[in-house]
Amino acid sequence: MRFALSPEQEELRSLARRFFETESSMAEVRRVMETAPGYDTSSWTQLARLGLLGLVIPEQHGGSGASLVEAAVVLREAGRALLPAPLLATSIAASALLGATDDEAAATWLPPIASGDVVGVMATSSASGSWELDDTGLEARHHGRAWLLDGDKGYVVHGAAAHLLLVTATTPSGIGLFVVPADAPGLACTSLPALDPTRRLASFAFVDTPARLICTNRSRMERALDIAAVCLAAEQAGGAERCLETAVDYAKTRVQFDRPIGSFQAIKHLLADVLVEVESARAAADYAAWAATSSPEELPVAASLAKSVCSDAYVQAASVNVQVHGGMGFTWEHDAHLHLKRAMGGKQLLGSPDFHRERLASAVLSPVHPAL
């Protein structure tokens, strides 16, 4: 029984932190967020070289065969650094590919994902933004032995950077998970002007787009969605942690009324409350990553719990960070708004806190009765 990272995991954390401190410094984040792809491809290659893109990918597919706990460690560090690169998207896509039932697709796509040559993203949300698995927004129909997809996907994280899409679609016999190369015929990608400049969003239109069906097992797809939520929660816990540190540092140095503002209880108590939420977020995120790996029957509840707790904690920490920085925190020049926007974006992505709390209520209180 040990609810703490192992020495190896701690080492991975410091490796990731050191890497992101230089490769995703705030100056670097600000530089790449103004560029067209929204992330730096050479630092992406280095991420791959360090083995950080293939953490959850088995060794036979070019990864390091670690667990989601290790992936969560790195994602938390990425969240601290506001990494603009599609690490979250790729981690989610790799996990979904792994969880699917198509070994050939896994053998084809996992090695280039681990090596950084292919950016994979999962697109489950319909254009309406719903996170219900059944709201796919896509119709899949047979065309000879192949499948063709028609419809729309919205709010796809790093969609424009993707080489490979994993999409849910409604088939005549239920929901299926499909892979679609980004250059497939009949597929159109539109970049969206995201509120969060450090994380690109896109929508996709499918017209008779050929796709490969890789999974029809509903519980495996649900698991993929849960893992996606856990990955984002880990990233949010890191972001919240960073906001607290930034605000505390500033409160120690900013002097007003001849005292550091951090010596005023009005500021102290704001920050102490954030500390409580940050600790809660870390615990919930760690537990969910552990459950994904070692206690799968707990995953649905643990994932919804972590996503709702971490979303709320990050928004609170980012908002307090703006507040404590006062006028400076309201400027474009200061980094506080970048965390606030990341927090507000992440809150709604992959299921809002309200969505996940409703899911928790269904699991632990009672399902909603069908309307009469």
Binding site: M1, R2, F3, A4, L5, S6, Q9, V69, L244, V248, A251, K252, R259, P260, G262, S263, F264, Q265, I267, K268, H269, L271, A272, D273, L275, V276, E279, S280, A283, A284, D286, Y287, A289, W290, T293, S294, S295, V301, L305, S308, V309, D354, R357, E358, L360, A361, V364, L365, S366, V368, H369
Partner: protein, 409 residues
Amino acid sequence: MDLTLPVEAEAFRDGVRSFLREHLPSDWQGVGALDEEQRLEFGRSWREVLSKEGLLAVAWPKEYGGAGLGPLEQFIVAHEFVRAGAPLRPLPGDQHGLSLIGPTILQAGTEEQKAFFIPKILSGEHRWAQGYSEPDAGSDLASLRTRAVLEGDTWVLNGQKTWQTAGDAANWIFVLARTDPAAPKHAGLSLLLLPIAQPGVEVRPIRTLTGHAEFCEFFFTDARASADHVIGGVGNGWKTAMALLGFERGASVAATAAAARVELDRLGELLRLNGKDQDPLVRQRFAWCYARVEVLRHLALRTVTQLLEGGRPGPESSILKLYVSQYQQRVTELAMDVLGLQSTVMSGRGAVAHLGPDPLGGSLDPAAWEGVFLTARGATIYGGSSQIQRDVLAERVLGLAREPRKVSA
């Protein structure tokens, strides 16, 4: 990260479970199902059972009559007892004796003090009350004014203490008193132990906003304590008293987390009974509470991990205090809202608990929820108010500058 129990711990847990099955009555519904008289009667016999099995003081070393259990086993015992609705501290005052002053004597006491007090705590001969707060020394505890003057081999006490939980059931009290008025505020204090049944001690009940007298206040007029009964040495009272607050943290967090879950399960039952489980707003609030309670369990696991690795409870424990007390208010507010107008009438069976949530077997009636709602108002005040906890976290965990304080003796 490994949250599975080791094989030995699993076997230990199974042992605790079969102990509970074996020794609790066959129709057991939890101590919350008993009325006050039944509780006292059950508490007496349950105390005998625990004492015989060595489960009364699970954390204490075996040589002093404890079970010598490690942090994980303590965690398991606390969790299993609370989930089964079986009290860990069967009688009023046991909490103070077994969890507070007992461990303090074991850590800071002399061998003579251990030999004198420890067996009497275990047997129940000594029933303890805590004497810290004073009318003019609450959050600013170190400004306390109860004076003790040494006359020969006896300390003579004068002053007033307040907020003694179960003070009416106690026959001994540990008192933090000023023994050196010339020393700086925190330095001139000592922890004195004295019997209550003496002419210089007067006990009065304090009726709280719940309508019950959960607390007492103590008046000392030339009350006497033996010079042999100073724990931790004269002048070391502050240090000794603060260490006392940190004992059995792991077990107490486990018990708190399990108790919160028992209460939330009961609230879920209430929601299903009155159909409010279908109300989307109620579902949101219930799920928020559920997440809060689960995270509390995660934080408890983390605390146990730290203790297993030899860590001592530090200022981080203020996180838990703040977290739990605020949660208790939120969850009981939800219960009151769910009851709606029913929450305005004190109908049915009332709350059992004096502090904290009702144990297993507690009532679903409005009066019970009203009781825990009112009780929860105190949770953010006693044991260091939320405002003090935030100061502690800000200054000692986040490292922010201290509030300027007047330097005084």
